[in-house]
C-alpha cells in the first residue's frame, strides 16, 4: 500500500509517516498541497491520500478535488484539528473518511484497510 500524506504541521507529518512505515506502509509526505499535486502530476501513483482539511493556501477539500481529477482511483482520508461540525459534515458530504486530531494510530490503520481493502495484502 502506498500513501500520500499532506499536512502543514511538518513534525506531525514526518512523525506519522515514520510510524506508518514502521508498520510496513510506504508513505510520501508533503507540507504543501502544491508539492503533492506536482508529485502526482509527475506520474506517482498512490492508493490512499491522507489530507489535513485546514492548510494555508490550498486546503484538503480542494486538494482532493484536484487529485481525484488526476487519479480517479485514489481514496481519501481527512484529518482535522478542528473538532467542529462544519468540518465533519464537509468530510462526510465529500464521501470520504474523517479522523480527528490527535488521532489513534490503530484507528488510522483500520480506516486505511476499510478504504482500500484490496491493497492490504
Amino acid at each position: 500500500m502506498k500513501i500520500l500524506l499532506v499536512d502543514d504541521e511538518k513534525k506531525f507529518a514526518s512523525m506519522l509517516a515514520k510510524r506508518l512505515e514502521l508498520r510496513g506502509i510506504k508513505v510520501d509526505y508533503f507540507f504543501e498541497a502544491t508539492n503533492a499535486i506536482q508529485e502526482v502530476e509527475n506520474g506517482k501513483k498512490y492508493d490512499v491520500a491522507i489530507l489535513d482539511v485546514k492548510m494555508p493556501g490550498m486546503g484538503g477539500i480542494e486538494l482532493r478535488r484536484k487529485l481525484s481529477r488526476m487519479d480517479s482511483d485514489l481514496k481519501f482520508i481527512f484529518l482535522t484539528g478542528h473538532g467542529s461540525n462544519v468540518d465533519y459534515k464537509t468530510g462526510v458530504s465529500e464521501a470520504s473518511y474523517y479522523l480527528p486530531k490527535p488521532l489513534k494510530i490503530n484507528d488510522l490503520i483500520e480506516t486505511l484497510y476499510l478504504v482500500a481493502p484490496e491493497k492490504t495484502t
Partner: protein, 593 residues
C-alpha cells in the same frame, strides 16, 4: 385612607423615579427622564391652561368694561339731575331779588319797614331766608331787615361786594354765621337811572339746598355733596365730611358739562366720580357738585362680583382637574416611553453580555483547534517512541529517542503558550482600567485570528506609529470593541483578503485605531444604519444586528468616537478615536457637566 392616598400618589409618581438600576442607564435612549417628565407636564398643562385663562381674562374685562360704562352713565345722570336742581335753587332766588329791585322803588327798598315787609313775603314764598339788606355803591349798608341790625356797616373792601359789582350778581360759598348756622349769601346789583348802583343782599339758610342735594342720593354706597373750587367740602357728605373736609379726589378741571370718571379714593376703594360745575343763567357759583359711587355698592356690580366668585371657583376646579389629568397623561405617556426604552436597553445589555460570551466561545473554539495540532504532534511523537520500544528492539543508546523527547517537550511548550494566552486574555477581562500598550494588545488579539488568516490567505498588517503612547482605558471594553471589528472584517472577506490595522496618535490626547478590510463593503444606504440596534444585512437567524450597535455603545462609554467608510466591492474601514486618559476625560466631563 392613608393607603389609598399612597396608591393614588403612586400612579402620579413615574416609574423611573422608583426603579432605575445603574447598569441599564448607559443603554437608555433618553437619560434624563425626570426632566422629560416635568417638561411634558409643563407643556401639556400650559397649552391647555393658558388659552383658558386668557379667554377668561378677556371675558372678565369685557364684562367689567360694560358694567363700568353702565355705572358711569347712571352716575352721570344722577349728577346731571342734581345739578339742575341746585342751579334752579340759586336761579330762583336770584330771580326773586332781581324781580324785587325792578318792581320796587329805590325809596321803598331803603325804607326799613318796607324791606321787612318784603323779607316777610319772601320768607312766605321761599322760606329759609335770614335777612335782607341794601348796600349803596360805596359799600355802605343803607337798610337792613332781619335779626341783626348792622346798619351803616362798610362792605366796600369785602370780596363779595367787589365780585357782585363786577358781575352784577353774586353767590357766596357756605359759611357759618354768627349763630354757627351755615349760610349762603346771594346778592344782585341794580343800576339806578342816575347812574349810581346799589346792591340787594340776602342771607340764605342752607337746609333746603342740602335737602335738595341729598334727596338725589340712592343706595348706601353713594355720596352726593358740593365742594368749592379749592376742594373744600360745602355740604354734608357721608365719607368726605370729617377730618380735613377735603376730598381725596383731585379738584376736576372746569367743564360746562357733567363729567364722570373712574378712580380710587383715599382708601384705595374703586369709585365712580361724576362732577358738575354749578352755574346759573345770572351768575356762576363757587360750587362743584360731586357724586361718588363705590363700584362694589352698585347692584349690577354686586351680582357680577358674586358671579365672578363662582366663575373663579369653577375655573380653579377646572384648572386643578386639567393639571391632574395632564399630569396623569404625561406620566403614563412617559412611563410607556420609559418601559419601551428600558426593554430596549435590557435587550441591548443582555445581547452585549451574550455577545461577550459568544466571542469568548468563539475564541475557545479557535484555541481548541490550535491546541489540537500540538497535541496531535505529542501524540504522534509519543506513539513513535512507543513504537520504537514495541516494534524496534534497538531502543537503547539511540540518539533518535532523545530527539523525539525534545519534540514532545516542544509540543507541550506550544500548548502551554496557547493556554497562557487564553488565560491571560480571560484575566484581562476582569481588569477595569489600566494603562495598556495598544500594540501588545492588538498583537495578542490578532494571534487568535492568525490561523484563520493563514487558511484563508488573508494578510494582516499591523502598523503602529512611532510615539504612540500607552492608553488608560477599560481593557475589557476595548478588547470587545476590537474583537467585534476584526471579527466583522474577517466575516466580510473571502479568500485572499487584506486586513490593515493602523494605530496612531491624534492631537495630544487621542489615539486613532483604523481597521481596514478588503471585504465586500457596505452599501451606501446602509451606512447610516449600521450602528442602529437590530439592523442587519445577514440572513434571518444569522445575526442579531446588535454587534455594531454594542460596539458603538462601548466606544461611547470609553468617551471615544467611531466612524465608518465603505465602498461596495472594495472594503470597509472603521476608525475609532479614544482618549489617552479615559479617567481624566471622565473627571473633566463630570466637572463641566
Amino acid at each position: 385612607m392613608k393607603q389609598k392616598f399612597h396608591s393614588f400618589f403612586f400612579i402620579l409618581w413615574p416609574r423611573f423615579f422608583r426603579e432605575l438600576s445603574e447598569h441599564i442607564i448607559p443603554y437608555l435612549t433618553f437619560n434624563n427622564y425626570p426632566r422629560i417628565w416635568v417638561r411634558g407636564i409643563l407643556i401639556l398643562v400650559s397649552t391647555s391652561l393658558i388659552p383658558l385663562f386668557v379667554m377668561t381674562g378677556i371675558y372678565y374685562q369685557l364684562i367689567e368694561k360694560s358694567i363700568d360704562n353702565a355705572l358711569i352713565l347712571r352716575t352721570e345722570r344722577v349728577a346731571s339731575n342734581t345739578r339742575r336742581a341746585v342751579s334752579f335753587f340759586f336761579e330762583e332766588r336770584l330771580a326773586a331779588l332781581k324781580f324785587m329791585v325792578n318792581d320796587r322803588d329805590y325809596k321803598d327798598l331803603i325804607n326799613p319797614t318796607q324791606l321787612s315787609e318784603i323779607l316777610k313775603n319772601l320768607k312766605l314764598g321761599f322760606g329759609g331766608l335770614t335777612d335782607l339788606s341794601v348796600i349803596d355803591y360805596n359799600g355802605t349798608q343803607l337798610t337792613y331787615a332781619g335779626p341783626y341790625n348792622l346798619e351803616g356797616k362798610d362792605y366796600s373792601q369785602q370780596n363779595w361786594f367787589l365780585e357782585c359789582q363786577k358781575r352784577n350778581a353774586y353767590v357766596s360759598e357756605v359759611f357759618s354765621g354768627y349763630r354757627g348756622v351755615p349760610h349762603i349769601v346771594v346778592a344782585v346789583k341794580h343800576t339806578r337811572p342816575d347812574g349810581n348802583f346799589f346792591i340787594i343782599r340776602a342771607t340764605l339758610e342752607t337746609e333746603r339746598l342740602f335737602n335738595a342735594v341729598t334727596s338725589y342720593k340712592s343706595g348706601t354706597y353713594a355720596d352726593i355733596f358740593m365742594i368749592n373750587h379749592d376742594g373744600v367740602v360745602q355740604s354734608p357728605s357721608k365719607y368726605y365730611e370729617k377730618k380735613t373736609r377735603r376730598i381725596s379726589i383731585e379738584v376736576p378741571e372746569y367743564s360746562s358739562r357733567t363729567k364722570a370718571l373712574l378712580t380710587k379714593d383715599r382708601k384705595g376703594i374703586p369709585v365712580i366720580v361724576s362732577y358738575a360745575f354749578i352755574n346759573t343763567s345770572i351768575t356762576p357759583t363757587p360750587f362743584i357738585l360731586i357724586v361718588v359711587k363705590e363700584k362694589e355698592g352698585v347692584s349690577v356690580m354686586k351680582i357680577w362680583l358674586g358671579l365672578k366668585t363662582n366663575f373663579n371657583l369653577f375655573l380653579a376646579i377646572s384648572a386643578m382637574v386639567i393639571v391632574l389629568i395632564m399630569s396623569l397623561t404625561a406620566t403614563s405617556l412617559i412611563n410607556k416611553i420609559y418601559f419601551a426604552d428600558r426593554s430596549k436597553a435590557e435587550a441591548m445589555l443582555s445581547a452585549e453580555q451574550k455577545g461577550q460570551l459568544a466571542s469568548i466561545g468563539q475564541l475557545a473554539a479557535g484555541v481548541a483547534h490550535e491546541i489540537n495540532n500540538p497535541l496531535a504532534l505529542i501524540n504522534e511523537t509519543a506513539g513513535y517512541i512507543k513504537d520504537l520500544f514495541v516494534i524496534k528492539s534497538q531502543y537503547q543508546d539511540d540518539p533518535e529517542l532523545i530527539e523525539q523527547i525534545d519534540v514532545i517537550l516542544d509540543a507541550v511548550e506550544r500548548c502551554g503558550a496557547i493556554t497562557r494566552q487564553l488565560l491571560g486574555f480571560a484575566r484581562q477581562l476582569d481588569v477595569e482600567s489600566r494603562s495598556l500598550n495598544l500594540k501588545v494588545m492588538m498583537t495578542n488579539l490578532l494571534s487568535f485570528f492568525q490561523k484563520e488568516a493563514e487558511y484563508r490567505n488573508i494578510s494582516i498588517l499591523l502598523d503602529v506609529e512611532d510615539g504612540t503612547p500607552s492608553i488608560e482605558t477599560d481593557r475589557k471594553k476595548l478588547q470587545q470593541i476590537l474583537l467585534n471589528l476584526i471579527n466583522n472584517a474577517f466575516q466580510a472577506m473571502d479568500k485572499d483578503g487584506n486586513l490593515s490595522i493602523k494605530i496612531g496618535i491624534v492631537g495630544t490626547d487621542m489615539v486613532r485605531i483604523s481597521i481596514e478590510d478588503s471585504g465586500c463593503g457596505i452599501e451606501e444606504h446602509h451606512l447610516n444604519k449600521i450602528f442602529d440596534p437590530f439592523f442587519t444585512t445577514k440572513q434571518e437567524g444569522k445575526g442579531t444586528g446588535l454587534g455594531l450597535s454594542i460596539t458603538f455603545g462601548l466606544v461611547k462609554k470609553l468617551h471615544g468616537n467611531i466612524s465608518v467608510n465603505s465602498k461596495v466591492g472594495e472594503g470597509t474601514t472603521f476608525v475609532i478615536t479614544l482618549p489617552i486618559n479615559f479617567k481624566k476625560e471622565e473627571k473633566h466631563e463630570n466637572s463641566t457637566g
